[in-house]
Protein backbone atom coordinates (compact mmCIF):
# COMPACT_ATOMS: atom_id res chain seq x y z
CA UNK A 1 0.00 0.00 0.00
CA UNK A 2 1.27 3.43 -0.94
CA UNK A 3 1.18 6.13 1.69
CA UNK A 4 -0.88 9.27 1.16
CA UNK A 5 2.33 11.20 0.87
CA UNK A 6 3.71 8.90 -1.80
CA UNK A 7 0.56 9.20 -3.89
CA UNK A 8 0.64 12.98 -3.56
CA UNK A 9 4.25 13.04 -4.75
CA UNK A 10 3.28 10.86 -7.69
CA UNK A 11 0.53 13.29 -8.69
CA UNK A 12 2.81 16.29 -8.31
CA UNK A 13 5.30 14.60 -10.61
CA UNK A 14 2.65 13.82 -13.22
CA UNK A 15 1.44 17.43 -13.22
CA UNK A 16 5.00 18.78 -13.46
CA UNK A 17 5.21 17.33 -16.99
CA UNK A 18 2.61 19.76 -18.28
CA UNK A 19 3.67 23.00 -19.83
CA UNK A 20 0.51 24.99 -19.63
CA UNK A 21 -2.90 25.18 -18.04
CA UNK A 22 -4.56 23.55 -21.03
CA UNK A 23 -2.65 20.33 -20.61
CA UNK A 24 -3.32 20.37 -16.88
CA UNK A 25 -7.04 20.85 -17.46
CA UNK A 26 -7.15 18.19 -20.15
CA UNK A 27 -5.46 15.76 -17.78
CA UNK A 28 -7.91 16.65 -15.04
CA UNK A 29 -10.81 16.09 -17.43
CA UNK A 30 -9.35 12.65 -18.25
CA UNK A 31 -8.91 11.85 -14.57
CA UNK A 32 -12.57 12.70 -14.06
CA UNK A 33 -13.45 9.84 -16.37
CA UNK A 34 -11.64 7.39 -14.05
CA UNK A 35 -13.60 8.50 -10.99
CA UNK A 36 -15.03 5.55 -9.02
CA UNK A 37 -18.68 6.45 -9.39
CA UNK A 38 -20.99 6.63 -6.43
CA UNK A 39 -23.83 4.08 -6.40
CA UNK A 40 -27.14 5.65 -7.42
CA UNK A 41 -28.69 4.90 -4.01
CA UNK A 42 -26.10 7.15 -2.32
CA UNK A 43 -26.60 9.97 -4.80
CA UNK A 44 -28.98 11.71 -2.42
CA UNK A 45 -29.34 15.30 -1.27
CA UNK A 46 -27.82 14.21 2.03
CA UNK A 47 -24.57 13.31 0.32
CA UNK A 48 -24.27 16.57 -1.64
CA UNK A 49 -21.32 18.64 -0.54
CA UNK A 50 -22.37 22.18 0.21
CA UNK A 51 -20.38 25.13 -1.02
CA UNK A 52 -19.95 23.88 -4.56
CA UNK A 53 -21.32 25.67 -7.60
CA UNK A 54 -21.58 22.27 -9.23
CA UNK A 55 -23.12 19.32 -7.42
CA UNK A 56 -20.72 16.88 -5.78
CA UNK A 57 -21.77 13.66 -4.07
CA UNK A 58 -19.31 11.70 -1.97
CA UNK A 59 -19.83 8.39 -0.21
CA UNK A 60 -17.40 6.48 2.01
CA UNK A 61 -17.33 2.86 3.06
CA UNK A 62 -14.88 0.88 5.16
CA UNK A 63 -13.18 -2.33 4.09
CA UNK A 64 -10.67 -3.98 6.43
CA UNK A 65 -10.19 -0.81 8.45
CA UNK A 66 -9.54 1.23 5.34
CA UNK A 67 -11.75 3.89 3.85
CA UNK A 68 -12.80 3.87 0.23
CA UNK A 69 -14.58 6.69 -1.50
CA UNK A 70 -16.92 6.93 -4.44
CA UNK A 71 -18.22 10.19 -5.87
CA UNK A 72 -19.80 12.01 -8.77
CA UNK A 73 -20.33 15.55 -9.99
CA UNK A 74 -22.42 17.23 -12.67
CA UNK A 75 -19.40 19.27 -13.78
CA UNK A 76 -16.49 17.70 -15.60
CA UNK A 77 -13.65 19.72 -14.08
CA UNK A 78 -15.06 19.21 -10.61
CA UNK A 79 -15.14 15.48 -11.35
CA UNK A 80 -11.44 15.65 -12.13
CA UNK A 81 -10.70 17.44 -8.87
CA UNK A 82 -12.64 14.94 -6.77
CA UNK A 83 -10.95 12.09 -8.68
CA UNK A 84 -7.55 13.43 -7.62
CA UNK A 85 -8.69 13.63 -3.99
CA UNK A 86 -10.10 10.12 -4.07
CA UNK A 87 -6.90 8.75 -5.56
CA UNK A 88 -5.04 10.33 -2.65
CA UNK A 89 -7.36 9.32 0.14
CA UNK A 90 -8.90 6.01 -0.92
CA UNK A 91 -7.70 2.73 0.53
CA UNK A 92 -6.24 4.55 3.53
CA UNK A 93 -6.70 4.20 7.25
CA UNK A 94 -8.96 6.91 8.72
CA UNK A 95 -6.27 8.14 11.09
CA UNK A 96 -3.84 8.64 8.20
CA UNK A 97 -6.49 10.59 6.30
CA UNK A 98 -6.99 12.80 9.33
CA UNK A 99 -3.25 13.40 9.69
CA UNK A 100 -2.65 14.16 6.00
CA UNK A 101 -2.00 17.67 4.75
CA UNK A 102 -3.07 18.86 1.31
CA UNK A 103 -0.18 21.09 0.28
CA UNK A 104 0.17 19.12 -2.96
CA UNK A 105 -2.86 20.97 -4.39
CA UNK A 106 -0.77 24.11 -4.47
CA UNK A 107 2.05 22.26 -6.19
CA UNK A 108 -0.10 20.95 -9.03
CA UNK A 109 -1.26 24.45 -9.94
CA UNK A 110 -4.76 24.14 -8.56
CA UNK A 111 -4.26 26.66 -5.79
CA UNK A 112 -6.88 28.92 -7.37
CA UNK A 113 -9.46 26.23 -6.68
CA UNK A 114 -8.80 26.59 -2.96
CA UNK A 115 -9.98 30.17 -2.98
CA UNK A 116 -13.46 30.54 -1.52
CA UNK A 117 -14.52 32.71 -4.45
CA UNK A 118 -14.10 29.81 -6.84
CA UNK A 119 -17.05 28.23 -5.14
CA UNK A 120 -16.15 24.83 -6.54
CA UNK A 121 -15.86 23.61 -3.04
CA UNK A 122 -12.46 21.92 -3.15
CA UNK A 123 -12.13 22.99 0.47
CA UNK A 124 -15.55 21.54 1.25
CA UNK A 125 -14.64 18.28 -0.47
CA UNK A 126 -11.52 17.86 1.65
CA UNK A 127 -13.52 18.73 4.74
CA UNK A 128 -16.15 16.12 3.86
CA UNK A 129 -13.53 13.43 3.31
CA UNK A 130 -11.97 14.25 6.67
CA UNK A 131 -15.42 14.20 8.31
CA UNK A 132 -15.94 10.67 7.00
CA UNK A 133 -12.53 9.76 8.43
CA UNK A 134 -13.52 11.17 11.83
CA UNK A 135 -16.77 9.22 11.79
CA UNK A 136 -15.16 5.91 10.85
CA UNK A 137 -12.25 6.44 13.23
CA UNK A 138 -14.76 6.77 16.06
CA UNK A 139 -16.20 3.37 15.06
CA UNK A 140 -12.75 1.81 15.23
CA UNK A 141 -11.99 3.20 18.69
Amino acid sequence: MKTIEAIQEEIVEEFSLFEDWMQRYEYMIDLGKTLPLIAIKYKTDNNIIKGCQSKVWVHAHMEQNKLNFTADSDAIITKGIIAILIRVFSDQHPKDILAANTDFIDKIGLKEHLSPTRANGLVSMIKQIKMYAVAFQTQLN
Partner: protein, 404 residues
Protein backbone atom coordinates in the same frame (compact mmCIF):
# COMPACT_ATOMS: atom_id res chain seq x y z
CA UNK B 1 -18.84 60.47 -32.15
CA UNK B 2 -18.66 57.22 -30.15
CA UNK B 3 -15.13 55.84 -30.12
CA UNK B 4 -14.89 52.72 -27.99
CA UNK B 5 -11.09 52.58 -28.10
CA UNK B 6 -10.86 56.15 -26.87
CA UNK B 7 -13.34 55.41 -24.06
CA UNK B 8 -11.46 52.31 -23.00
CA UNK B 9 -8.50 54.52 -22.09
CA UNK B 10 -10.61 55.82 -19.20
CA UNK B 11 -10.55 52.30 -17.72
CA UNK B 12 -6.99 51.27 -16.83
CA UNK B 13 -8.18 47.82 -15.70
CA UNK B 14 -9.27 46.95 -19.25
CA UNK B 15 -5.67 46.88 -20.41
CA UNK B 16 -4.47 44.37 -17.83
CA UNK B 17 -3.71 40.74 -18.49
CA UNK B 18 -5.35 37.74 -16.84
CA UNK B 19 -3.64 34.36 -17.03
CA UNK B 20 -1.28 35.75 -19.62
CA UNK B 21 -4.07 36.96 -21.92
CA UNK B 22 -5.56 40.43 -22.38
CA UNK B 23 -8.61 40.66 -20.10
CA UNK B 24 -12.03 40.34 -21.71
CA UNK B 25 -14.42 41.57 -19.04
CA UNK B 26 -17.95 40.32 -19.66
CA UNK B 27 -19.29 40.30 -16.12
CA UNK B 28 -20.68 43.81 -16.22
CA UNK B 29 -24.06 42.84 -14.80
CA UNK B 30 -22.26 41.83 -11.59
CA UNK B 31 -20.27 45.02 -11.41
CA UNK B 32 -19.10 47.55 -13.95
CA UNK B 33 -15.53 48.78 -14.18
CA UNK B 34 -14.62 52.18 -12.81
CA UNK B 35 -13.28 54.96 -15.01
CA UNK B 36 -10.35 57.13 -13.97
CA UNK B 37 -12.67 60.12 -13.46
CA UNK B 38 -14.58 58.29 -10.73
CA UNK B 39 -11.46 56.91 -9.04
CA UNK B 40 -9.98 60.42 -9.09
CA UNK B 41 -13.10 61.88 -7.49
CA UNK B 42 -12.60 59.46 -4.60
CA UNK B 43 -8.90 60.19 -4.16
CA UNK B 44 -9.51 63.92 -4.57
CA UNK B 45 -11.99 63.79 -1.71
CA UNK B 46 -9.56 62.01 0.59
CA UNK B 47 -6.56 64.08 -0.47
CA UNK B 48 -8.20 67.50 -0.36
CA UNK B 49 -11.39 67.80 1.62
CA UNK B 50 -12.12 64.71 3.73
CA UNK B 51 -14.39 65.90 6.54
CA UNK B 52 -17.64 64.91 8.15
CA UNK B 53 -20.65 66.50 6.53
CA UNK B 54 -23.73 68.43 7.62
CA UNK B 55 -22.33 69.50 10.96
CA UNK B 56 -18.96 71.20 10.76
CA UNK B 57 -18.64 74.96 10.57
CA UNK B 58 -15.20 74.66 9.10
CA UNK B 59 -14.25 74.98 5.46
CA UNK B 60 -13.47 71.31 4.75
CA UNK B 61 -16.79 70.19 6.15
CA UNK B 62 -18.58 72.75 4.00
CA UNK B 63 -16.77 71.64 0.88
CA UNK B 64 -17.52 67.98 1.59
CA UNK B 65 -21.18 68.77 2.32
CA UNK B 66 -21.46 70.78 -0.88
CA UNK B 67 -19.94 67.98 -2.97
CA UNK B 68 -22.17 65.35 -1.35
CA UNK B 69 -25.32 67.41 -1.85
CA UNK B 70 -24.27 68.24 -5.40
CA UNK B 71 -24.11 64.50 -6.06
CA UNK B 72 -27.62 64.14 -4.67
CA UNK B 73 -28.78 66.86 -7.07
CA UNK B 74 -27.04 65.08 -9.96
CA UNK B 75 -28.86 61.86 -9.08
CA UNK B 76 -32.16 63.73 -8.76
CA UNK B 77 -31.69 65.28 -12.17
CA UNK B 78 -30.66 61.99 -13.75
CA UNK B 79 -33.76 60.16 -12.52
CA UNK B 80 -35.91 63.29 -12.88
CA UNK B 81 -37.16 63.18 -9.29
CA UNK B 82 -39.32 66.14 -8.27
CA UNK B 83 -37.21 66.98 -5.23
CA UNK B 84 -33.63 66.38 -4.07
CA UNK B 85 -34.92 65.18 -0.68
CA UNK B 86 -36.61 62.27 -2.45
CA UNK B 87 -33.16 60.82 -3.15
CA UNK B 88 -31.87 58.86 -0.17
CA UNK B 89 -28.28 57.66 -0.18
CA UNK B 90 -28.01 54.01 0.88
CA UNK B 91 -25.35 51.31 0.85
CA UNK B 92 -26.88 49.97 -2.36
CA UNK B 93 -29.94 48.30 -3.83
CA UNK B 94 -30.21 45.65 -1.14
CA UNK B 95 -30.21 48.20 1.68
CA UNK B 96 -32.72 50.35 -0.21
CA UNK B 97 -35.10 47.41 -0.53
CA UNK B 98 -34.66 46.47 3.11
CA UNK B 99 -35.38 50.04 4.12
CA UNK B 100 -38.78 49.92 2.40
CA UNK B 101 -39.53 46.37 3.54
CA UNK B 102 -38.78 47.33 7.12
CA UNK B 103 -40.98 50.43 6.81
CA UNK B 104 -43.93 48.36 5.63
CA UNK B 105 -43.78 46.14 8.71
CA UNK B 106 -45.96 48.64 10.53
CA UNK B 107 -48.21 49.35 7.53
CA UNK B 108 -49.15 45.86 6.32
CA UNK B 109 -51.91 43.87 7.92
CA UNK B 110 -52.76 40.21 7.97
CA UNK B 111 -54.33 39.15 4.69
CA UNK B 112 -52.71 41.93 2.65
CA UNK B 113 -50.99 40.76 -0.51
CA UNK B 114 -47.62 41.51 -2.06
CA UNK B 115 -46.89 40.73 -5.69
CA UNK B 116 -43.38 39.87 -6.77
CA UNK B 117 -42.11 38.85 -10.17
CA UNK B 118 -40.68 35.39 -10.84
CA UNK B 119 -37.65 37.05 -12.42
CA UNK B 120 -36.43 38.56 -9.20
CA UNK B 121 -32.98 38.49 -7.75
CA UNK B 122 -32.62 37.00 -4.27
CA UNK B 123 -32.15 40.42 -2.69
CA UNK B 124 -35.59 41.34 -4.00
CA UNK B 125 -37.21 38.15 -2.68
CA UNK B 126 -35.81 37.53 0.79
CA UNK B 127 -36.70 40.88 2.44
CA UNK B 128 -40.32 40.45 1.34
CA UNK B 129 -40.50 36.90 2.62
CA UNK B 130 -39.28 38.20 5.97
CA UNK B 131 -41.83 41.01 5.84
CA UNK B 132 -44.67 38.57 5.13
CA UNK B 133 -43.60 36.39 8.04
CA UNK B 134 -43.72 39.36 10.39
CA UNK B 135 -47.03 40.81 9.19
CA UNK B 136 -49.08 37.83 8.04
CA UNK B 137 -49.30 39.26 4.53
CA UNK B 138 -49.15 36.87 1.56
CA UNK B 139 -46.47 36.84 -1.12
CA UNK B 140 -47.80 36.08 -4.60
CA UNK B 141 -45.63 35.48 -7.62
CA UNK B 142 -46.16 36.85 -11.12
CA UNK B 143 -45.04 33.84 -13.21
CA UNK B 144 -42.64 33.96 -16.14
CA UNK B 145 -42.92 32.56 -19.65
CA UNK B 146 -40.35 30.34 -21.37
CA UNK B 147 -39.11 33.39 -23.30
CA UNK B 148 -38.15 34.86 -19.96
CA UNK B 149 -40.83 37.55 -19.88
CA UNK B 150 -43.49 38.17 -17.26
CA UNK B 151 -46.87 36.55 -17.74
CA UNK B 152 -48.89 39.75 -17.80
CA UNK B 153 -52.27 38.01 -18.05
CA UNK B 154 -51.64 36.28 -14.76
CA UNK B 155 -50.39 39.56 -13.33
CA UNK B 156 -53.77 41.13 -14.17
CA UNK B 157 -55.60 38.30 -12.44
CA UNK B 158 -53.38 38.41 -9.34
CA UNK B 159 -53.87 42.12 -8.85
CA UNK B 160 -56.78 42.98 -6.55
CA UNK B 161 -57.83 45.36 -3.82
CA UNK B 162 -55.85 43.39 -1.22
CA UNK B 163 -52.62 44.01 -3.16
CA UNK B 164 -50.62 46.58 -1.25
CA UNK B 165 -47.21 46.41 -2.89
CA UNK B 166 -45.78 45.20 -6.19
CA UNK B 167 -42.05 44.57 -6.62
CA UNK B 168 -40.51 44.10 -10.01
CA UNK B 169 -37.01 44.45 -11.37
CA UNK B 170 -36.75 46.93 -14.22
CA UNK B 171 -34.39 44.45 -15.92
CA UNK B 172 -33.79 40.80 -14.97
CA UNK B 173 -30.18 40.20 -13.93
CA UNK B 174 -30.08 36.59 -15.05
CA UNK B 175 -31.75 37.02 -18.45
CA UNK B 176 -31.62 40.72 -19.34
CA UNK B 177 -35.39 40.96 -19.91
CA UNK B 178 -36.70 44.52 -19.75
CA UNK B 179 -40.00 44.34 -17.90
CA UNK B 180 -43.03 46.47 -18.88
CA UNK B 181 -42.80 48.49 -15.69
CA UNK B 182 -44.90 51.42 -16.88
CA UNK B 183 -47.86 49.14 -17.52
CA UNK B 184 -47.28 47.36 -14.20
CA UNK B 185 -47.20 50.66 -12.31
CA UNK B 186 -50.37 51.97 -13.98
CA UNK B 187 -52.32 48.79 -13.32
CA UNK B 188 -51.11 48.51 -9.73
CA UNK B 189 -52.10 52.12 -9.05
CA UNK B 190 -55.61 51.46 -10.33
CA UNK B 191 -55.96 48.94 -7.48
CA UNK B 192 -54.36 51.28 -4.95
CA UNK B 193 -51.12 49.30 -4.68
CA UNK B 194 -47.68 50.89 -4.48
CA UNK B 195 -44.81 49.80 -6.71
CA UNK B 196 -41.12 49.38 -6.02
CA UNK B 197 -38.86 48.97 -9.02
CA UNK B 198 -35.37 47.47 -8.62
CA UNK B 199 -33.34 49.42 -11.13
CA UNK B 200 -29.93 47.83 -10.42
CA UNK B 201 -29.70 46.03 -13.76
CA UNK B 202 -31.38 48.79 -15.74
CA UNK B 203 -29.37 51.79 -14.55
CA UNK B 204 -26.26 51.15 -16.68
CA UNK B 205 -28.41 50.88 -19.82
CA UNK B 206 -31.64 52.81 -19.37
CA UNK B 207 -32.30 56.27 -17.98
CA UNK B 208 -35.41 55.90 -15.84
CA UNK B 209 -37.65 58.95 -15.42
CA UNK B 210 -39.35 58.38 -12.08
CA UNK B 211 -41.99 61.06 -12.65
CA UNK B 212 -42.93 59.87 -16.12
CA UNK B 213 -43.12 56.32 -14.77
CA UNK B 214 -45.07 57.57 -11.76
CA UNK B 215 -43.16 54.93 -9.79
CA UNK B 216 -43.47 54.99 -6.00
CA UNK B 217 -40.00 53.70 -5.14
CA UNK B 218 -37.00 53.16 -7.41
CA UNK B 219 -33.70 51.75 -6.16
CA UNK B 220 -30.27 51.16 -7.63
CA UNK B 221 -26.54 50.72 -6.89
CA UNK B 222 -23.72 52.96 -8.07
CA UNK B 223 -21.32 50.12 -8.86
CA UNK B 224 -23.48 48.89 -11.72
CA UNK B 225 -23.03 52.17 -13.58
CA UNK B 226 -19.31 52.88 -13.28
CA UNK B 227 -19.52 54.09 -9.68
CA UNK B 228 -17.96 52.57 -6.56
CA UNK B 229 -19.35 49.68 -4.50
CA UNK B 230 -21.07 50.31 -1.18
CA UNK B 231 -23.31 53.16 -2.26
CA UNK B 232 -26.68 53.35 -3.92
CA UNK B 233 -29.94 55.17 -3.74
CA UNK B 234 -33.53 54.90 -2.75
CA UNK B 235 -35.95 57.16 -4.58
CA UNK B 236 -39.36 57.52 -3.03
CA UNK B 237 -42.21 59.97 -3.47
CA UNK B 238 -42.04 62.55 -0.67
CA UNK B 239 -45.43 61.76 0.80
CA UNK B 240 -44.67 58.04 0.91
CA UNK B 241 -41.24 58.44 2.46
CA UNK B 242 -42.63 60.83 5.05
CA UNK B 243 -45.25 58.25 5.99
CA UNK B 244 -42.66 55.49 6.48
CA UNK B 245 -40.98 55.06 9.86
CA UNK B 246 -37.22 55.66 10.04
CA UNK B 247 -35.09 52.65 9.15
CA UNK B 248 -32.09 52.90 11.43
CA UNK B 249 -31.52 55.05 14.51
CA UNK B 250 -28.39 57.12 14.96
CA UNK B 251 -26.77 60.44 14.30
CA UNK B 252 -27.68 62.64 11.31
CA UNK B 253 -31.28 61.36 11.26
CA UNK B 254 -32.55 63.15 14.35
CA UNK B 255 -33.93 66.64 14.96
CA UNK B 256 -33.98 66.66 18.76
CA UNK B 257 -33.11 63.94 21.22
CA UNK B 258 -34.07 63.71 24.86
CA UNK B 259 -34.25 60.51 26.85
CA UNK B 260 -38.04 60.68 26.66
CA UNK B 261 -38.41 61.24 22.96
CA UNK B 262 -36.58 61.75 19.71
CA UNK B 263 -38.01 63.67 16.82
CA UNK B 264 -36.70 62.77 13.44
CA UNK B 265 -35.06 64.96 10.90
CA UNK B 266 -36.77 65.83 7.66
CA UNK B 267 -36.17 63.92 4.45
CA UNK B 268 -33.68 62.81 3.26
CA UNK B 269 -31.81 62.76 6.60
CA UNK B 270 -34.48 60.71 8.33
CA UNK B 271 -33.23 57.69 6.37
CA UNK B 272 -29.54 58.51 6.51
CA UNK B 273 -28.44 57.56 10.01
CA UNK B 274 -24.79 57.96 10.91
CA UNK B 275 -21.88 59.23 8.85
CA UNK B 276 -22.58 58.16 5.29
CA UNK B 277 -20.24 56.89 2.58
CA UNK B 278 -19.29 60.44 1.63
CA UNK B 279 -16.64 59.67 -0.98
CA UNK B 280 -18.92 57.00 -2.45
CA UNK B 281 -21.85 59.40 -2.71
CA UNK B 282 -19.73 62.02 -4.43
CA UNK B 283 -18.30 59.40 -6.80
CA UNK B 284 -21.84 58.16 -7.59
CA UNK B 285 -22.61 61.63 -8.92
CA UNK B 286 -19.39 61.70 -10.95
CA UNK B 287 -20.22 58.27 -12.40
CA UNK B 288 -23.62 59.53 -13.58
CA UNK B 289 -21.96 62.59 -15.10
CA UNK B 290 -19.55 60.26 -16.89
CA UNK B 291 -22.36 58.08 -18.26
CA UNK B 292 -24.41 61.09 -19.32
CA UNK B 293 -21.30 62.57 -20.92
CA UNK B 294 -21.28 59.59 -23.27
CA UNK B 295 -25.07 59.70 -23.49
CA UNK B 296 -27.57 56.99 -22.67
CA UNK B 297 -28.92 57.03 -26.23
CA UNK B 298 -25.45 56.43 -27.63
CA UNK B 299 -24.79 53.70 -25.05
CA UNK B 300 -28.11 51.98 -25.81
CA UNK B 301 -27.60 51.89 -29.56
CA UNK B 302 -23.99 50.66 -29.31
CA UNK B 303 -24.93 47.97 -26.79
CA UNK B 304 -27.82 46.90 -29.02
CA UNK B 305 -25.29 46.34 -31.82
CA UNK B 306 -23.08 44.33 -29.47
CA UNK B 307 -26.05 42.21 -28.41
CA UNK B 308 -27.13 41.46 -31.98
CA UNK B 309 -23.57 40.61 -33.01
CA UNK B 310 -22.96 38.39 -29.96
CA UNK B 311 -26.30 36.63 -30.34
CA UNK B 312 -25.57 35.84 -33.99
CA UNK B 313 -22.04 34.64 -33.33
CA UNK B 314 -22.91 32.51 -30.30
CA UNK B 315 -26.00 30.95 -31.85
CA UNK B 316 -23.80 29.37 -34.49
CA UNK B 317 -22.06 27.27 -31.83
CA UNK B 318 -23.52 23.79 -31.91
CA UNK B 319 -25.65 22.95 -28.91
CA UNK B 320 -25.63 26.47 -27.52
CA UNK B 321 -28.97 27.51 -26.04
CA UNK B 322 -29.73 31.08 -25.02
CA UNK B 323 -32.04 31.64 -22.04
CA UNK B 324 -34.09 34.80 -22.11
CA UNK B 325 -35.37 35.67 -25.54
CA UNK B 326 -37.49 38.67 -24.74
CA UNK B 327 -37.82 41.19 -27.56
CA UNK B 328 -36.90 43.90 -25.11
CA UNK B 329 -33.66 43.00 -23.41
CA UNK B 330 -30.38 44.55 -22.36
CA UNK B 331 -26.99 43.36 -23.59
CA UNK B 332 -26.93 40.12 -21.61
CA UNK B 333 -26.61 36.60 -22.98
CA UNK B 334 -27.31 33.77 -20.58
CA UNK B 335 -26.56 30.39 -22.13
CA UNK B 336 -25.62 26.76 -21.77
CA UNK B 337 -23.98 24.39 -24.21
CA UNK B 338 -25.39 20.89 -24.47
CA UNK B 339 -25.21 19.27 -21.08
CA UNK B 340 -21.96 20.93 -20.05
CA UNK B 341 -22.06 22.46 -16.63
CA UNK B 342 -21.73 26.26 -16.74
CA UNK B 343 -18.94 25.93 -14.18
CA UNK B 344 -16.81 23.95 -16.64
CA UNK B 345 -17.24 26.50 -19.41
CA UNK B 346 -16.62 29.45 -17.05
CA UNK B 347 -13.46 27.92 -15.53
CA UNK B 348 -11.90 27.32 -18.93
CA UNK B 349 -12.88 30.79 -20.20
CA UNK B 350 -11.21 32.27 -17.13
CA UNK B 351 -7.99 30.51 -18.06
CA UNK B 352 -8.17 32.38 -21.36
CA UNK B 353 -8.61 35.73 -19.63
CA UNK B 354 -12.36 35.92 -20.29
CA UNK B 355 -14.46 36.91 -17.27
CA UNK B 356 -18.06 35.66 -17.36
CA UNK B 357 -20.46 34.75 -14.60
CA UNK B 358 -21.52 31.16 -14.01
CA UNK B 359 -24.13 29.76 -11.69
CA UNK B 360 -27.62 30.73 -10.71
CA UNK B 361 -26.90 34.51 -10.65
CA UNK B 362 -28.68 34.80 -7.30
CA UNK B 363 -31.92 34.04 -9.12
CA UNK B 364 -32.48 30.39 -8.28
CA UNK B 365 -36.23 30.44 -9.01
CA UNK B 366 -35.45 31.24 -12.67
CA UNK B 367 -33.01 28.32 -12.88
CA UNK B 368 -35.61 26.03 -11.29
CA UNK B 369 -38.11 27.20 -13.90
CA UNK B 370 -35.79 26.08 -16.70
CA UNK B 371 -34.68 23.05 -14.68
CA UNK B 372 -30.99 23.86 -15.10
CA UNK B 373 -28.22 24.22 -12.48
CA UNK B 374 -27.33 27.64 -13.80
CA UNK B 375 -26.08 29.37 -16.91
CA UNK B 376 -23.00 31.04 -18.27
CA UNK B 377 -23.77 34.74 -18.47
CA UNK B 378 -21.91 37.19 -20.67
CA UNK B 379 -23.05 40.73 -19.91
CA UNK B 380 -21.81 43.60 -22.01
CA UNK B 381 -21.03 47.23 -21.42
CA UNK B 382 -20.45 50.20 -23.70
CA UNK B 383 -16.68 49.65 -23.32
CA UNK B 384 -16.79 46.13 -24.76
CA UNK B 385 -15.80 45.55 -28.37
CA UNK B 386 -16.77 43.29 -31.25
CA UNK B 387 -13.26 41.76 -31.09
CA UNK B 388 -13.94 40.75 -27.49
CA UNK B 389 -17.08 38.93 -28.64
CA UNK B 390 -14.92 37.08 -31.17
CA UNK B 391 -12.56 36.10 -28.35
CA UNK B 392 -15.55 34.85 -26.35
CA UNK B 393 -16.72 32.76 -29.27
CA UNK B 394 -13.25 31.29 -29.83
CA UNK B 395 -12.95 30.63 -26.09
CA UNK B 396 -16.25 28.79 -25.95
CA UNK B 397 -15.33 26.66 -28.94
CA UNK B 398 -12.03 25.75 -27.33
CA UNK B 399 -13.71 24.93 -24.02
CA UNK B 400 -16.18 22.66 -25.79
CA UNK B 401 -13.42 20.82 -27.64
CA UNK B 402 -11.55 20.27 -24.37
CA UNK B 403 -14.61 19.01 -22.55
CA UNK B 404 -15.81 16.64 -25.26
Amino acid sequence: MFDVNQLRKDFPILSREVNGQPLVYLDNAATSQTPRQVVEAISDYYYRYNANIHRGVHKLSQEATDAYEKARATIQKHFNAAHTHEIIFTAGTTESINCIASGYTSILKKGDELLISALEHHSNIVPWQMLCKKTGAHLKVIPMTTQGTLDMETFDSLLNSKTKLVFVGHVSNALGTINPIKEIIQKAHLKGAKVLIDGAQASPHIKADVQALDVDYYVTSAHKLCGPTGVGMLYGKSALLNALPAYQGGGEMIATVTFEETTYAELPHKFEAGTPNIAGGIAFGVALDYMNGIGYDVIASYEAELLIYATNVLQKIEGLKIYGEAKEKTAVISFNIGSFHPYDIGSILDKMGIAVRTGHHCAQPIMDFYNIPGTVRASFSFYNTFEEIDRLEAGIRRAVSMLQ
